[in-house]
Structures are given as C-alpha cells and as structure tokens.
Symmetry: C2
Amino acid sequence: MSKIFVDACFGKETPYTPVWMMRQAGRYLPEYMKVRAEAGNFLNLCHDPKKACEVTLQPVDIVGVDAAILFSDILVIPLEMGMDLKFVTGEGPKFDDPIKDEADLDRLIGGDEAASKLTYVYDTIKLIKEKLADDKALIGFTGAPWTLATYMIEGEGTKTYNICKKMMYSNPELLHKILAKVTEVVKLYMQKQIEAGIDVVQIFDSWAAAIEPSKYDEFSWKYMVEIAEYLKSKYPHIPIIMFPKGIPAFLDKVYGNFEVFGVDWSTPMDLAKEKLGSKYVLQGNMEPCRLYSKEATTESVEAIQKVMGGKRHIFNLGHGILPDVPVENAKHFIKECHRVSKK
Amino acid sequence: MSKIFVDACFGKETPYTPVWMMRQAGRYLPEYMKVRAEAGNFLNLCHDPKKACEVTLQPVDIVGVDAAILFSDILVIPLEMGMDLKFVTGEGPKFDDPIKDEADLDRLIGGDEAASKLTYVYDTIKLIKEKLADDKALIGFTGAPWTLATYMIEGEGTKTYNICKKMMYSNPELLHKILAKVTEVVKLYMQKQIEAGIDVVQIFDSWAAAIEPSKYDEFSWKYMVEIAEYLKSKYPHIPIIMFPKGIPAFLDKVYGNFEVFGVDWSTPMDLAKEKLGSKYVLQGNMEPCRLYSKEATTESVEAIQKVMGGKRHIFNLGHGILPDVPVENAKHFIKECHRVSKK
C-alpha cells in the first residue's frame, strides 16, 4: 500500500499535504504521561520496546498525524558507546564522564559493536511496524554527530557550548576525531533501523545554530551529508529528512543527496522555498507556540499553505510541541493542515 | 576633542576602526572579580556608582578598547518599576512576582516616576565622564522592551518563552500594554542617561530570536524604533546602535532612524553588508568563542576586515565575552582590530 507521507517525501503529488509534529509522542498527551509513569523514568521507556511502541502509536491514533516517529532519545548512541547517561528531573540529560581528551574518546566503543547494542531500538521498530496502519509511515531518527558531540563533550545541555567551542578553535583535530567516530556509529545505527523496518530517516541537528556560519559545514553538515550518502547508496527508496535547526542565514550553502529539508520556525518559509524549494521537498514550519491558540494556528497553516501551494511540502511544526499545549489544539493543527491542502 | 568611536558611528573616516566588546566589564577580568567580591553581589555593584564606575573603566585601561560601556544591568528598569528582582547564584535573575494580568501591570510604576528612581545609574555616568579620557566614548544602554518583558512575564530566564508566547498568541493586547508601558520608561531612562553624559546609546534586544520573523516588528522592533525616534528628535548628535540578536533571516525588514546596526555572530558579515551596509554603519561580529585561540581570533578579524574594508564599521564581538577567556587573548583581539584597520 502506498504511503502518502513517503510519496510526499519524494515530491510526488498526494491527495493532501501530510503532517506530523516533532515531539508528537510526548508530554502534552495524558496517555503518554501514564505510560511514562509506569516505566518509572525516561530511559526505562526508551529501553522497553512494548512501551516505546505504545507511545509511538499514540499520536497517530489520538491526534491523527500521517506518520509515526519512533519513540527514543538521541543520546542512546553515546550511552551505548559506553558513556554514563542519566536523566536528572528538571535538569535534563547528564554524562558524568564527558570527553576531555583522546584517551577519553579511545575508551568509547565504536562502529558496529556500539550500533549492535541498540537492539531495544530495533525491537521497538519491529513491534511498531506490526501495529502501524499500512498507509502510515514510520520515521526513524538520529541526532547529527555535532549535536551528539555537544552532550558528549559538555556532559550536559549548555547555553554557551564553551567547552566544545574551545575545542573547535583550539584543538579542531580532536573534535573531528570525535565527530568521525560518532558518524561511523550513526551510519550503522540508521542502517539497522532501516533493516528493522523504518520507512523514512530524519537527522536532527538540534544545535546547528551553535556553530558560526563559516564553520558549519566543516563541523556538522559534512558529517550529516556523509551519513545521508551512505544510506542513499544502499537504500535509495528510503527518503531522508535533514533538520538543521536555525541556519536561515546560509541556506545557499546547503548541499547533499537527501530528499527533504526540515525548515525550523526561525526561517521564513518563502525564504526556504526561494533558496531550496527546487532542490528539496520542504518540511515545516509553524512556530510551536501558536498551538496555544486555535486562531493563531489556523492563521499560520493558511500562510504556509499560501507559500507552498500544496507542492513539494510536508506540514510540521518548526520545532517540538511543548508539554502544556492542549491536545485539542494539536488535533486542530492536524485538521487544518489537511483542510487547507485537500485537492 | 573628537572621539573616534562617535565619528565611526556616524560613518566618518577614522584613522583606524574602533573596537569594544560586549560584556567587556565582566568576569574574565580579575580586577572586576575583586570589585564585585567587595560589593557582595551583582545588584549591589549596579547600585554603587563608585564601584560601577571603576569596573566600567577597567577594560579601557586594561584591554585598550575605544569605548567604555556603562556597567549596569538591563533589569534595573523592571526593578524600579516595582518588581522584586533577585540574582540567584548559578541561576540568574528572578522576579517573584511576574506579570500575569492587567492588574499586575497596573501595580507597576511607569513613565518619569520610574525613570527618576534610577539615580544611581545617572550618578555612575557622571562619575565615569569625570574620569574617562576625552578621546574615549561612553556607551549607555537599555534592554529592548521585548527583552525586558520576557523576564517580567516569565519571572526568569527561559529556554522556551512559552509564557510570553502564550500571551503573544492568545492575549496580544495585554502583551502590547506591557511593551508600551516599558517603552515609556525606557525613553525617559535613555533621555536621562544622555542628560547625565553618555555619548552613544545601544539598545540590546538579546531575545530577538525568540519571536518568529512575521511577528518581530509588531512585538519588538517597532518599540525599539519608537525609542530611537524619540531620542533622535531631541539628541541628533548622539548616535544610536540597535542590536537585535539573531535575525539574519529578515535583515531586509530592518528600518528606522538610527546610525549603527549591531551584527551578531550568527549573521555573516557579508550578508549584513549586502542588506544593510548602505543604510547603517555595521558593528561586529566575531564569534566570542574564537577568543579561546589567538590564531582563530586573528583569522576572524582579518576575514571581517576583508568584508568591511575599514569603512562604515565598528569592530566588536557578535555576543558577550565569556568569563573563562584569558585576558591576554582579549587584548590580542583589540590589538588585531587596530592593526588590520590602521590607515
């Protein structure tokens, strides 16, 4: 059965523009909160294929999105490379043993050995594919090497990224070694996600905006492109979505072999269309805080539809949905995307 | 005596391109840390004209910048409007009584009554002007109404701005009332700073990037322009620098009566020059983390000089200097800016 979401990724005509929401399996859903409470904590939920499958499917059933996205966390990669990951309530992820030098990096597991430890992710994918309706797509994902490296070097989320950036400007060789090692694991991790059954790949570079424009390609984009090329050479039928958050200043510099460019909300959709619309299908980009108001949601959906005209487009938010958004407003967003784009 | 910095703000030819650094009176300087320790805490330092004057002058003497910037904090405005400001170590500023509704706003002091309470700022300016060398300029500053309002509504720094943005999309009238009341105070505050002796005004919109492009003018820029127009009509000889951090996607939309546009490091200097260089003098924009390396500093200073060619330009960082930067690297930055631009 043909999946409208996959068709849209390849720029084919579809009866309406499909839509999903970043972080759609998340805290705004009471049903998610219930399963998460049963799991005890966030990492347990990632490690439990049955529960991870359940929360992956919730937004498809409850909110009506056109694609499910695998429930997991980008930091399972450094975790299985051997780093000590904790989620501290109210503070986010922490590694007690950040990478400070080459010896720290050498201690980490790489390549297929690390990727093979993520069996709970592949098991989750298989379970989801048994239960997901045939016309819905399953998106698998990974963090970009740069975004993963920021946590591995800083040891936690950061406002200034000063430790990684000190490395970037004072010891770029070490940063490149870290990025290369992570890239190898990501390639094999995504290959195994595809083998387990995902229909689409999304690579999230959540901290793209932390790198100055003249250094972005060197320290992030080229590694993302390397991953995309590797997967495309083996699985040309699996579309790839690249989402580098916050690079509106240099869209001209975007290159590589992938199908969909994810537009964040800081980038005007008409600018993205002008710079990238002929090369890539565009995904996005409603400002997630508009979900607090149905009127503001409709206004934005109509404005985006006016720019994209229902062609080479996938609706989404320009970043993740926030925990305090009313579920009925999320449903309204999905309904409006379908309404304005129906042919 | 003519001040090279003021001349440069007006686009006049100068013997070299002047330079200062955002947050130049700050924690990277041991001399600052000493005065701050004596003051007991950050707010005491803002309230003490003698000590505030001392730290304002330190970077001029120690690092060799061409302009001093008044030592103060943007949040003294809501403080003197009647809000309960605390600086919690390691967590930043907090207001225990954020604005939730119109009654909260009505309780705040506005206009000249609030601006008149900031005597310690005006006294600091007078003291600085007595001691600052005649050829150096003193920059006074304020936060933009939007940036101030985010703290007044959220009660603290925020990653998601979800409380203000809920207001933006669900109750924009209330947000506009808050912004208008803050704008009135800011106009009179800056007027009194000018009367006390500052040579240049900078308006910092540190959280410009929190607003989606299509709403930026409505909720921030137009208020900044209103303040600039008010000051220009009374003090045409005082140059105004606007610094909206993180709006590279829509530089075309920048308008208003002011002299200098502050370019943050996420905006490539050649893009800023192309879009705004003929209308405004440009200030900026080295990525502050380059200060960790002298080589990376020189590389960036030379690249910026190559774009700007020593014309209609003021050197600066693209954001504030970080606390762990070696003082000798800051000195190197200043020296390099002077070296590459000397005529």
